[in-house]
């Protein structure tokens, strides 16, 4: 078995005195989908943000495809081998809850900006790649539309295409359906499911338990900055071993009436 694509070792993340991630370790193999669940404030979004290098970490280490992506700032000064986190961050694609498209750019230009500026692609080539990706997410008829004219679901699919244009090795999804109207959730989940089937390595923070059960290879339950349970989706949903996991899932089920179905 090859080395996992993502290796997170003993990561500690603090905001001031508050510890948000407390010695978190995990690994994700290439092509795997890992779903992270947990109550709000459990640190799951922070974990993704650390992987995307949006947040420095205080301790521990994150490697992506064998290259060091982040090292704890408190350990950096002591390391004698001059270990430096790579500043390249486009091997990791991230999709946010609030889409975060560039509102002053058309959908096409949202997708082509980074390939042109960061990868140095010619405009024509970038357009070809972008149009191909926008077809994949079903937005080929919205190329020249500005984000403000799109529905939330369309915006989120455009954001997925924008991230994919950088040919990331890993895609991070941070509660990407939480801001959507219920009837728009399905189209985004379908896009993510297709991506998983094509073999993309994915880390998904979500409250969509149907999606987690169907698509995830592994599920992590986080609470108070730690990984409480780490298991297959069937085991974690049918017979969680930790009482905290069980309590969380029961609360979630109550809220949803336990009947929500997903495409």
């Amino acid at each position: 078995m090859a080395e996992p694509l993502i290796v997170v070792t003993g990561v500690v993340k603090r905001y001031g005195m508050e510890t948000v991630l407390d010695r978190v370790s995990l690994s994700v193999n290439a092509g795997q989908v890992m779903v992270v669940i947990g109550p709000s404030g459990s640190g799951k979004s922070t974990l993704l943000r650390c992987l995307a290098r949006l947040e420095p970490i205080q301790r521990g280490r994150i490697t992506i495809d064998g290259a060091v992506a982040a090292v704890g700032t408190e350990e950096l000064s002591q390391s004698s081998d001059g270990l430096r986190a790579s500043s390249l961050s486009h091997d990791v694609g991230m999709v946010f809850q609030s889409y975060n498209l560039f509102p002053h750019l058309s959908v096409l230009n949202n997708v082509t900006l980074a390939p042109r500026r960061v990868l140095g692609m010619a405009r024509e080539e970038a357009n070809t790649v972008a149009i191909e990706l926008l077809k994949r997410v079903g937005l080929e008829d919205k190329l020249h539309v500005f984000p403000g004219r799109l529905s939330g679901g369309q915006q989120q699919r455009a954001a997925i295409a924008r991230a994919l244009a950088m040919k990331p090795r890993v895609m991070l999804f941070d509660e990407v359906t939480s801001a959507l109207d219920p009837e728009l959730v399905g189209e985004v989940l379908r896009t993510m499911r297709a991506l998983a089937e094509q073999g993309m390595t994915m880390l998904v923070v979500t409250h969509e338990m149907g999606f987690a059960r169907d698509v995830a290879d592994e599920v992590i339950f986080m609470d108070k900055g730690s990984i409480v349970e780490h298991s297959s989706p069937d085991r974690i949903f049918d017979s969680p071993s930790e009482p905290r996991t069980r309590a969380f899932l029961e609360r979630l089920l109550e809220r949803e009436g336990g009947t929500r179905k997903h495409p």
Binding site: H90, M94, L101, F102, L113, A114, V118, F146
Partner: protein, 219 residues
């Protein structure tokens, strides 16, 4: 009785004054926009060695009269450094430095008005700081603050009249000379007023048009 009869023959002089006013406006606006942008960035820098001097600069130039700044540059620089910018140069530089302080605060507000998440979205796509500013943040920031930028540029055009104090033969100075020669100050300055209006009103119209265009096309 208003009588423009004696003024008419001075129209070529007025025209030359208008040209000089336009040149002065363009020179100081260019300096002001570029410097204002740099100051907006250094002002919000986390390095105090950058943000503090910027703060002092901005407050100094915002809180002293531009006329004093022009006169000081014109008479002071040669005395202190033996370096003479000339009347036009002193006025252009002083007005540019002055307007930069105001524009810096406007740009800063515009940049702050852009959601933090736009920086993050650019960052995860691998865009560097300069590219993020140029293609993501500034287009939105400028759009946020178009009205105050327009107002500031209109003020700038009118402030070029202060250059008359050091003898630059711009529009107001021409008006004063015509007034001295014809003994018709009211008429001479009415022409000046109309000429300033003709110069500044298109700026106002232009900025409104840009705003309208942006709000229509970008939904």
């Amino acid at each position: 009785m208003f009588s423009f009869a004696s003024i008419v023959s001075y129209l070529p002089d007025y025209l030359r004054g208008v040209m000089l006013t336009v040149e002065l406006g363009l020179a100081s606006a260019s300096l002001g926009v570029v410097l204002g942008l740099v100051l907006a960035l250094t002002r919000r820098s986390r390095f105090r060695a950058l943000s503090w001097p910027t703060y002092i600069y901005i407050e100094f130039f915002r809180n002293t009269p531009p006329l004093v700044q022009i006169v000081w540059l014109y008479y002071g620089l040669p005395l202190l450094f033996g370096f003479d910018l000339g009347a036009f140069g002193s006025a252009a530089v002083a007005l540019g430095l002055n307007i930069a302080a105001f524009l810096a605060e406007i740009f800063r507000a515009g940049i702050l008005g852009v959601d933090r998440t736009q920086w993050q979205a650019a960052r995860v796509l691998g865009l560097g700081f300069i590219d993020t500013l140029r293609f993501v943040i500034l287009p939105q920031a400028v759009r946020n603050v178009l009205p105050p930028i327009g107002t500031t540029l209109i003020y700038l055009i009118k402030d070029t009249a202060l250059a008359s104090a050091i003898g630059t033969p711009e529009l107001l100075r021409v008006g004063q000379l015509v007034s001295n020669e014809t003994f018709r100050p009211a008429e001479a300055l009415t022409v000046v007023a109309i000429a300033y209006f003709v110069l500044t009103y298109p700026i106002a119209l232009g900025f409104s048009a840009i705003e309208r265009h942006l709000s229509v096309s970008r939904g």
